[in-house]
């Protein structure tokens, strides 16, 4: 495949996957409705507690909960979905390194996840009069894609690792709340036990939320954007290895098709 064709393939693959997921009811519920319910819980809690000023923080945090859940389900089970749909074999048989086929799929999952953020912000603005001020509009424009890329690359690693487990869905069921906590979406990580800190640094969700929050509320988003992209490179490298491993293993064990 010519080098010039690669960006086009990635872009088209991403657009098509976004379109596909956007017409999937379960995804839409996970990305639009559930985060809004969590935003409502957080907002009522902040209001009834002593942090009525933190409503924008709650809206952003609850949006990020949804971003993570959609990425987790969309990429963690991407290969399982494709296997069930009988598409996985066709993608493997295409003359493109599989890592380039998978990247747009998990990036699309993270993109659809971003619907959550939009949903909780609009919800907060409409129902709770949350002021939607943006301190650094240009940096917000950079923060959102940086978050998508960071999450998409972690998603690729998850996709290629989870597929090796027979019960990947159980794994995804389990990883919601822990990552919500460790990423500091609604509760600062400093409130948690100390050992959670280093874990949070390894999660692109931590930096993505930080970048978007500081872009909107105020602060310095650039370091967080940088950290998110740095992690993305690291996760891409790891994923390239695990994807190759998955492909070789699948050809040996005959696990591409739904036997």
């Amino acid at each position: 495949m010519s080098r010039a064709a690669v960006p086009r393939m990635l872009l088209r693959g991403w657009a098509i996957q976004v379109k596909d997921s956007s017409s999937f009811g379960f995804f839409i519920m996970s990305s639009l409705i559930e985060p809004v319910i969590f935003a409502a819980i957080a907002a009522y809690m902040f209001r009834a507690g002593n942090r009525p000023d933190a409503l924008l923080y709650a809206a952003i945090g609850a949006g990020m909960l949804g971003v993570w859940i959609v990425t987790l389900i969309g990429s963690g089970q991407a290969l399982t979905f494709l296997r069930h749909a009988g598409i996985l074999e066709l993608l493997i048989v295409a003359p493109v390194p599989f890592v380039l086929v998978l990247a747009p799929i998990t990036l699309a999952a993270a993109t659809v996840g971003m619907y959550s953020l939009a949903a909780t912000l609009v919800w907060g603005w409409l129902l709770f009069d949350v002021p939607l001020g943006v301190e650094h509009p240009w940096l917000l424009l950079a923060s959102v894609p940086a978050t998508v890329i960071g999450l998409g690359m972690l998603g690729m690693l998850m996709a290629s690792v989870f597929v090796l487990f027979r019960h990947a869905n159980a794994l995804t069921n389990m990883l919601g709340y822990p990552v919500w906590l460790a990423s500091g979406f609604l509760v600062p990580v400093s409130l948690l036990p100390d050992w959670v800190r280093p874990v949070s640094w390894l999660l692109p969700t931590t930096w993505g939320a930080e970048a978007i929050r500081t872009s909107m509320i105020g602060g310095h988003p650039l370091p967080a954007i940088g950290a998110c992209l740095g992690l993305a490179i690291g996760y891409f490298a790891l994923a390239a290895l695990t994807v190759r491993h998955f492909e070789r293993l699948a050809r040996q064990r005959a696990s591409l098709a739904l036997a």
Partner: protein, 261 residues
Amino acid sequence: MNSARVFFRGGLLAYKALFNFKQTAVYIPTMLISPAFQILFFAYLGRYSGLADDNFFVVGNAIQATAIGCIYGMVLLLGNERQFDTFSAVIATSTRRGALYFGRAVLPIANGIVVTTFVLCTSVLLLDFRMPATALPAFGIVVLVSAVSCAMFGLTLGALALRLKDIWIISNLSYTLMLLLCGANVRPAVLPGWLHAISSCLPLTHGIEAARKVADGAALSQVAGLIGIEALIGGVYALLGYALLRLFEAGDRRGATLITV
């Protein structure tokens, strides 16, 4: 006698066949670890928001956790039966319907109680949750009544799942909405009027309130009213769910809609 057998055996088989209950690889993360983290999440959120102490969230979410067994269990059992078309085979039999349907609820209820017990134990270890040992018997009764009532709500949702396309949407959405409405994390009184009204018609709302009082040292007699309302709500959903199932069963015989997906 036969009804009793259908009640227990039928429920057990349906659960085993459709759930793979034995698979600890699925059970532990979904039914135990996830709710334990749910409590941690809301307890920390409570600490940060300064709303209430750990006990408030632990008790609320522990009762709420029965819904994992009772909502997902019931909806998936009935929904899966439609998906795999076992429902039409089951209703073709001449068994007493009550035993058939309510038997489906036994294991989800037992499972809900196990989940609640487990998350209470982890909360003692990981959070500042304390409850006097003398409160345990009354607390156990509250848990049991709440679980049964929630399972009957699950039966109603499961009946609807026989008619709707995506059972995951129903179960996930109900569970998440209950997190908001049943008072596990937000006192219903804080909610806008119309949400408050819905909340008082849902199972668990009164159970959670009773459980908090019991954990604070109230005697069973002091919460008898709340437990009664919780039981009453469960009874109403039991009738509603049963009526819907009979209705759909009759509709199925007329128009064979259960078979189409």
